[in-house]
Amino acid sequence: MAQRRGLMKGNADSLILCLLGQQPMYGYLIIKELERRSQGYFEFKEGTLYPALHRLERAGLIVGKWQTLPSGRQRRYYYITDKGHRLLAVKRSQWQDFLTAMNLIIQPART
């Protein structure tokens, strides 16, 4: 679990950008989507999501907007910005390179 937390902490920004790159989301939905798509592997300490969202917003990578739902409830949806898209593309490329290199070493050599 501690190892997962460590991996999560180091890559939280990329994971959030990745989700928001597909559709705008609010905080609670981001947590649920991360859990669902990773099949429970990534469990965010929920309170720590918001500092990450605010940090990304301050960096101009995402932007938050309050929206009123038909039920009258308000939610703050986050949208990825152009700057966020550009960073996400760089991060994706870095991950692909990293995974390729890892696979070359971890997978048993084919004879």
């Binding site: 609010y26 905080g27 609670y28 300490k45 929920e46 309170g47 720590t48 918001y50 500092p51 990450a52 605010h54 940090r55 301050r58 409830r73 308000q74 939610r75 703050r76």
Partner: protein
Amino acid sequence: MTTLSHYLNSVRDNLRLDPPSEREVINELETHIEDELQELKEAGLSEEEAANTCVRLLGSAKLVARQIYEAHSQGTWRQALLASTPHLLFGLTFALNWWQGISWLLIMLVLVLGTAVYGWWHGKPTWLFPWLGYSLLPVVAAGLLLLYLPKGWSWLAIILYVPLAAWLVYAITVQTIKKDWLYSSLMLLPLPIVIGWFIAVRLEGSFPQFSLERLHDFASWVGLSFLALGVSVAIFIRLRQRWLKAAILIISGILTLIMVVGYAWSQLGLHTFLVLILLMLGIFLIPALLERRIRHSTGT
């Protein structure tokens, strides 16, 4: 008070952001809690169980507040430059001997007062507080100059003027504490340095004719001390962690005082040095204690 409102109050108490930003953060956490509670209750938990689980999943309120504060606390380079500008201007005024030109001093006064008033009415941004501190300097300087009135008059002036000036400084300090006590310390930081140099210069003669001969000798060091404060304030604005922000102010304040006393040891001596150090520490302790008292009395 319910578990959840206690949790949200604890986050609010430790956020130390602008009121609009604070409201946004709390509203966002509230909507998160509503969603979470609904899901937990649909899963069969009681109201109390759901609230306790929700708080556990969110994690420590203080940690969440501190991390959100750190996401917001780092100022831009532009804000850092704006905040350090009054220190740099004051430093350059002495380092380049501009202090002898009355027109430059008037320009400085108008600039400082104008910027302070503008910032005060535009949401009290972080860069405002050093400007506010320098706009209080004429009030302090006038009080110090009253000591040089002819005998008899000086005491009368002190009895009438000092309480009024102290009340003004106190009222502005209390207003800044409502935002964050660190900003009060940022505002008052140059005060012990100015008093230190004022005592070191030891004006000779009586009001309004003074001999400023000694100020010529000290001018470049006076300038250097305020330039050093300007650099520290720029670093303060750029730092994220609160304890580091407090540390840079305390360390730079004390080091600058040591520089003042070191250069003017024969004029100041140990007793004055100790009094100035106490004043510098008071600039940090008193706003922190006042903030605690104000928060306690308003129940937030």
